[in-house]
Symmetry: C2
Subunit: 89 residues, 2 copies
Amino acid sequence: MDDPSTCRRYAGMLDYRRVLAENVKAARKALDLSQEALALEAAIDRTYVSGIERGRRNPSLTMIAKLAERLKTTPAALLSPMTQEQTGK
Amino acid sequence: MDDPSTCRRYAGMLDYRRVLAENVKAARKALDLSQEALALEAAIDRTYVSGIERGRRNPSLTMIAKLAERLKTTPAALLSPMTQEQTGK
């Protein structure tokens, strides 16, 4: 379930929950933040962050914008497939 | 309320509902689709499309991905400020 190559497509469409999951995780690690710290900073529940990073959540635009702000990136970057170079800078 | 310069920022954060609104509208018009036609193709309610184009809705990631697919673009493009050149091509 965690292999991107098998999870990226869902019903013929790119699986953007998976894309978001990978990018949030990479951006969080690049900032050396724990899930708890990110959750605290974004004023959301830690289990929600964990759910997003496992591609189990379907967050709203406002939530994606909030996460992007705390991760010092943009919603567009968080939704771009394979943007590790952006999130890792 | 429809002037982007006054609406783009909301609580100190870029107003991404506004960004999405502008980009959905521009992409839809570039494809010469009515709100009704887009709603039908994306299997959502026309009033929902209208609400998104007025920045009144807070759609989920899945909904954004669905709209992007029908508009022949990507969620990242729909959430990028001032991407008229992308949506218009």
